[in-house]
Symmetry: C2
Subunit: 565 residues, 2 copies
Amino acid sequence: MVRSFTIGLDFGTGSVRAVVVDCADGKILGTSVFDFPTGLGGVIVDAHDPHLARQNPADYLAGMRAAVPTALAAAAGDPGFSRDRVIGIGVDTTGSTPIPVDADMQALALDPKWAANPAAHAWLWKDHTGADEAAAITAMASEFAPEYLAVIGGTYSSEWFWSKIWRCLKVAPDVFAAAESWVELADYIPAVLAGVTSPGEIRRGVCAAGHKAMYSEAWGGLPAAEFLTRLDPKLAELRPRLYDKAWPSDRPAGTLCQEWAGAFGLAQGVPIAMGAFDAHYGAIGAGITSGTLVKIIGTSTCDIAIASSAGQAPEVPGICGTVNGSVMPGYYGVEAGQSAVGDLLRWWVEVVCGGDEAKHAELSVEAARLAPGESGLVALDWNNGNRTILVDPHLTGLIVGQTLQTTQAEIYRALIEATAFGARAIIERLNANGVLVERVISCGGIAEKNPLFMQIYADVLGYPMLLAGSVQTPALGASIAAAVTAGAKAGGFDDFESAQRQMTKIADTSYLPEPRARGVYDELYRLYRELHDSFGGMPDAQADFPTLMKRLLAIRRRAHGDHTP
Amino acid sequence: MVRSFTIGLDFGTGSVRAVVVDCADGKILGTSVFDFPTGLGGVIVDAHDPHLARQNPADYLAGMRAAVPTALAAAAGDPGFSRDRVIGIGVDTTGSTPIPVDADMQALALDPKWAANPAAHAWLWKDHTGADEAAAITAMASEFAPEYLAVIGGTYSSEWFWSKIWRCLKVAPDVFAAAESWVELADYIPAVLAGVTSPGEIRRGVCAAGHKAMYSEAWGGLPAAEFLTRLDPKLAELRPRLYDKAWPSDRPAGTLCQEWAGAFGLAQGVPIAMGAFDAHYGAIGAGITSGTLVKIIGTSTCDIAIASSAGQAPEVPGICGTVNGSVMPGYYGVEAGQSAVGDLLRWWVEVVCGGDEAKHAELSVEAARLAPGESGLVALDWNNGNRTILVDPHLTGLIVGQTLQTTQAEIYRALIEATAFGARAIIERLNANGVLVERVISCGGIAEKNPLFMQIYADVLGYPMLLAGSVQTPALGASIAAAVTAGAKAGGFDDFESAQRQMTKIADTSYLPEPRARGVYDELYRLYRELHDSFGGMPDAQADFPTLMKRLLAIRRRAHGDHTP
């Protein structure tokens, strides 16, 4: 039997990972990770503006150039592997991460003229500088184009395409003027690999377009020029230099050009799959089906569900988006998320406690010894705003219940719990709006490495927490997309379902809800919701703050075994 | 001219300090500090109950035995000093810190039979285990004896005498039964020095009695037996074994007995002043007058004011107490306080940040570089409950406004600010209820050592922050009480005013409010009050939580120099 292989390229917040995958069983034969050298952990930050987060496009190119050959060399350790049998390349990335490019499709930041200007770099997903612009877009769309909002949960986010471009227009008009077009990282990488030399030739994916740029065939592509003019006429002028059409994930983005074929040591012409976001391809790699919620838990969390596109598109208020074909053809892709999960723990352990990896492990062990409710703490998980269900980047963190004995580990656990409560709010919102969650599969670094975290999630969510069989679901999903793009005749697959059956599985490890812990967390979740709904400005918020600290102490007392009333 | 000297003994939370003072000018000629060896920093704690705090009476005795001779030896460095001219000994202590004693006036904990039982030890001021008892006392007094509450701000505290004794009766009835009587630390020490061998012979001070035990001559001493019976008949049975009469601070508690004269190397018969709380004698040492608020800022803060007893007793809701003669004869002593100030910073630096003294200094330097409002944080200072103005030990901490960039130093500063906001709430309450604050004099470790802290207080309170001229105001105040008790004929003084004129002064250093910072803090204080009033359960609380995080960010933006609306 002739074996086939695909390459998956996964562009994360701090690094790019290349994997070489066996199409027969999804096994990763070779892998290589390249850490982005620019900025703080690969991110350009600004001490005076906590909302700014940019990335250097040069890091992306250097990363691919380094990681792919290394992964291929590693795969060569398998005697059955052959470079000639690499039938496709798939790409997943963070997003919305738009990049300004010039008329030659070169990222502006690669031009020495712009290299020192943060606005000319990639506007990383977690950049929240466009909050005012997002609010204005939401307001304008509410009035003039409510259909744009219906499929993105009712609120346009500061993390997304137009907020960032408009922000650039306001704060760096020179960069805006110099940009021939703007390209999502998920589209930029396939275009670079395909040797595209003009922005007009880029084949853009519907995942980024539909979830972040208000693209839909229902209204003829991107938002109408009339609408953009209301925001700023210069955005309407930009529109024709963007795109008219976006493609689903089973269509090719192009084929490998000579330059990159040489760099990788592969044949020219290998099909390149449409780029998509890490969460969407991650969901495929995790084995998503209708009724499954896939949680990709890392620095942030992305939640992905799918619903058959035979029915009406689900409308879930406060959910990031519902886009036909964004995960796989034939299904609406539904995306939700939390803006800080691993980042929240990293903040606590590294920024506040001044620790490192060993400290993470130490606090995790200590926190695991605590019973639910024992710390007397409850926190909001909003240090980086709230992406779903409040869609408000201007929310901030809150911790309540501290005494003079409250420890690092207690707060560490309270922050994990806060993210679990945030996850529960999302699932409740999905269930209440026709996207039923029947099982939860998790993947991502935290899901793999932090059993305490996963047990808390099982107890808070009340679902068994299943784990994806691969530890590299986004890269695996990108490999699957590559295999589907290549097609069965070339040794791949003709559809995602067949590819998933062969190439994905569920891990043996899972975490079951523990009834006693569930009961305590049901109580704590109610307190969380009082804070969440009040400080989040929900119109039907109900809270009893005069008794909240007392109720926390009562939960704490019971957790310590004191059951006096 | 014949010189005179007095000894001041200051029993703090972690140590006892002995000073030898020159009556001519209040100069400290010799000083010695003894750290209490038992427990954590001198405090017996319970990992399962953050509200428990006890102390070992043996530490008090060992402390005096060590510190007094050392201080006297140091004073001998002054050629004009002579042991024969030590004309009195004064004692100040923490409180309410009641100690169960046996029929021979020995602290129960000194008996090997009880040494391992925390309930048999001294119930330190910050022990909050009697919270339920305090609430029940408040409820009962509201119904049957509202006059008891009028002079203690309307609420009986868990930190006080009866809450602790009743708690002991409930959780350790054997200790309660073994106790012949209960004695405040402030009365215990003078009685020990005077060689009192039976609880009935102790001369108790009106400071502890009036502020903590609901003692008043207006209703014939301690609460009536009928009232105590309503709490528990066993408390009524205890009443006759306590005391009928308490004495003001210019009356002697006794004279030095042979045993302790020998231990100190002093003559038998030296007068011992009535014991009082550290804050009250500290206020005298700081130069208190009518219109002056003295803040003793240490692990906690005690605020002391006085009002002429020619007028009616001021009634200030939520203020710890108003007791005729508790600071000095001829004035009502008014006491307020905050249960965690230095302790709150220590929690942050030592428990959470895992640092030591050097870390305190480092964070202080870093926090000083921040402009008011720059951190975007606001906190409640309730990690140890709220003593004044909410009188609720079951309140806990709260911090709001964290981002993923929030630093240790930002939270350190926010916690200082939180205590300053708490201090402002107290001053506003005093001013609104007829105890006008015209100037503020501070003393205590933090006031002396932390200029950042004092500047923040000046900016938040809007008063110049003056410093007492002595760094040992409680011990100095105790020395002044000793000089007044000895009397002018013996080389002391006939009244406190004359003694203060000679023996106290204001320091050259002071901190003036900076108008710009005041403006920012006025805004932040409003946010603090929204949280304070809501989470504290004030009936007229007004808060707009849906916009609170946004308003914090707006203050933050302006602090960063962004003045766009």
